[in-house]
Subunit: 377 residues, 2 copies
DNA sequence: AGCCCGGCCTACAACGTTGTACGAGCGCCT
DNA sequence: AGGCGCTCGTACAACGTTGTAGGCCGGGCT
């Protein structure tokens, strides 16, 4: 054994990485035996195993992912497609998806659709085949509609709300119930004129429609169906749009003492605009956000928000996706192929929770809630 | 031509996708000719090209990414490794990286290191070879130190601040200057006791050290070197830690009329704690954040913040990475190999800008700045 | 002694693509 | 008419891995 043979795995980039054939030559066995050692196949004698392992360590051999993928027909990579990874909600979702994927030994490729139909179609059509094993897609409404007709060339699970096609797997929360729950919370706090801030009805952001419906239903149930002026519409889920919509509403002399917002970012913009108009959010106007992103707990006043169980969404979405991938693998024959292929159009509804904070304090408190010491839940 | 041959590319998942050999058979040419058509090689007769293209369209052929990658020795995928993609700063960074990568026809694999040394080492050591062409890494300090010694098996560019090894490419902002600039801004607004809120000195988050130094230097230059009590230390960059550190400082009767924070999230927690203690952020205590993430413009008061040019970081980081990838490709010989390989230890410093908002208003204004109408920049 | 069987290892052939080298056909020039 | 060069297309061999089928060898059985 030479000294050179003992140098650590880290080698200059001029030395090409070791392959199976290199290890095989050094250990004096066939490449298949090395492969068997690497993959912990039992059919290798203990002595041989030790010798091969030594060669592997000496050469710093690492399996080459691409060769392996080509042979196995799997990449171990799934794609996560969201409109914009910089949006806090999608970033937090991605965090959970990446973590859940890592637990399963999968890698996550992030795609940004910019809520563009064309981009989403391209992803679903899987222009380059085989790059990813499956796709986790947060679709805009129109694409979701299409998906029923279009056959996906790659396993697919949808994330989010809206009118979804019946034959594609999907995981999300029950947003209508959540919106109704948030609305009832505001009513029970003595709020009487509750506005809804979100995407325009029938717009590209279907999420808003479902939440808006839950809000309208809850108000109708309470005997106070909302007037048209209580719908505050935005074109995108940004602080600027939230503030602008509230500014418009204040200008048009619409009256409200609470706002249910379709996202925390919108809520933040709304609270800012209220303050700018001399109204104290949480006292004069209650505000409820959606998503419960990290900053919601630390605004002033802190933001009441609907918190979807993102971990469960990631977990169930990934589980379904992996099941579909396994089932669609043409190489592996289904062991018990009796069951009629459960992989079409499953719906998983995960939990949500209304996290109550200062921004939705009961009407007319003794002191402005955002100044009450110890007010943090 | 049968009817079936005209059916669109979207096929059932039971039909295996078309390969080059299928197209070749249908067009009556060799697979290499099909390959030449797909890759737009000029050596194909126009007539043949048309015939092959027809066969491609009829079969809905898409190149198989893995086979291609194996042959070419490239995957077209780069990894972006950040401590936590859910943190707004890293999410926004990722957004720019993904966008810049898409422009270059590259895909981005997101890895979360959880600021763990072990995870970062694993990524740099490239356990599986060949999966990604290169790595964009936002390291914790200790790993960065190691990188000089450890030979990376994959092209590598570092993002961020701190004591970085001299022989690895790096892109970031001049945080010391930015901190000094922010400090001078506070001084010029009449602030006298300026605290710094960030990671503990010498801690794992090297970013804090550089910013802290710039702050301390600026104060020293102004003849007011900061006392030890002006260092507010956190263990992680969360709203909770920011609030707790400020609470501690208020309790210990440290005096300050301004806080320079190492991140916007910390600043948000700090502002909340100030408000809870009855102090109005932006009036009684000025607050400056860092990163200028999306929510900074919409808090109340809106947050003055140091905005690094994330787009430039993504752009330059990716450019360097692609250059290194190209240079380290063993198959392609350097055309003019005269220059001595520029791919080691380059430093790129991108611009930053102090975005002044309400939270750093001048001391003792006539009215609380957060109530001034039209106060939004 | 001959046979079978199980343990251990190897040869071969894919997975789908593309660079290299060469060959067939054709027109043009001498 | 024969040789030359050009255009277009093909055969082959990789890239690195792993499933399948089969081979060799020793021990236990008849």
């Amino acid at each position: 054994m030479t000294l050179a043979s003992l140098e650590p795995a880290g080698h200059s980039h001029l030395v090409p990485p070791a392959r199976l054939v290199d290890v095989a030559a050094r250990a004096g066995v066939s490449i298949k035996t090395v492969s068997n050692v690497v993959n912990a196949h039992p059919q290798v004698h203990q002595l041989t195993r030790t010798r091969v392992q030594a060669a592997i360590d000496e050469l710093g051999y690492r399996p080459h992912a691409i060769g392996r993928q080509l042979r196995r027909g799997r990449t171990g990579i799934i794609a996560l497609a969201v409109p914009d990874i910089a949006v806090p909600y999608f970033a937090e979702l991605a965090g959970h998806v990446v973590a859940a994927a890592a637990q399963r030994g999968l890698e996550v490729l992030v795609e940004q659709t910019n809520a563009s139909l064309e981009t989403e179609r391209r992803l679903v059509d899987a222009r380059d085949t085989g790059l990813v094993d499956g796709l986790l897609l947060s679709p805009v409404a129109t694409t979701a509609d299409e998906l029923g007709a279009r056959a996906a060339t790659t396993p697919l699970v949808l994330i989010g709300e809206g009118p979804l096609p019946p034959d594609v797997d999907h995981v999300g929360t029950d947003d209508a119930s959540a919106a109704a729950e948030a609305t009832r919370h505001l009513l029970s706090g003595g709020r009487r004129e509750i506005a809804f801030l979100g995407g325009a009805p029938g717009g590209p952001v279907a999420t808003s429609d479902v939440r808006r419906q839950g809000w309208a239903d809850a108000l109708a149930d309470a005997g106070r169906p909302p007037p048209a002026s209580a719908h505050l519409a935005v074109t995108s889920f940004t602080g600027a749009c939230g503030a602008a919509a509230v500014a418009d509403a204040l200008m048009s002399s619409a009256t409200f003492d609470a706002i249910l917002c379709a996202s925390d970012v919108l809520a933040l913009g709304a609270m800012r605009e209220l303050a700018r108009a001399g109204l104290v959010p949480g006292r004069d106007v209650a505000v409820v956000g959606w998503d419960d992103v990290a900053f919601a707990a630390w605004t002033t006043p802190s933001l009441t928000s609907v918190r979807p169980d993102l971990e469960a969404i990631a977990e169930h979405g990934l589980t379904m996706l992996v099941e579909t991938i396994d089932a669609s693998d043409p190489r592996k024959k289904p062991p018990g192929d009796g069951q009629p292929c459960p992989r079409a159009g499953r719906r998983v509804v995960v939990a949500h929770r209304l996290v109550v904070r200062e921004s939705s304090a009961a009407a007319h408190p003794a002191r402005p809630p955002h100044l009450i010491p110890g007010g943090i839940p």
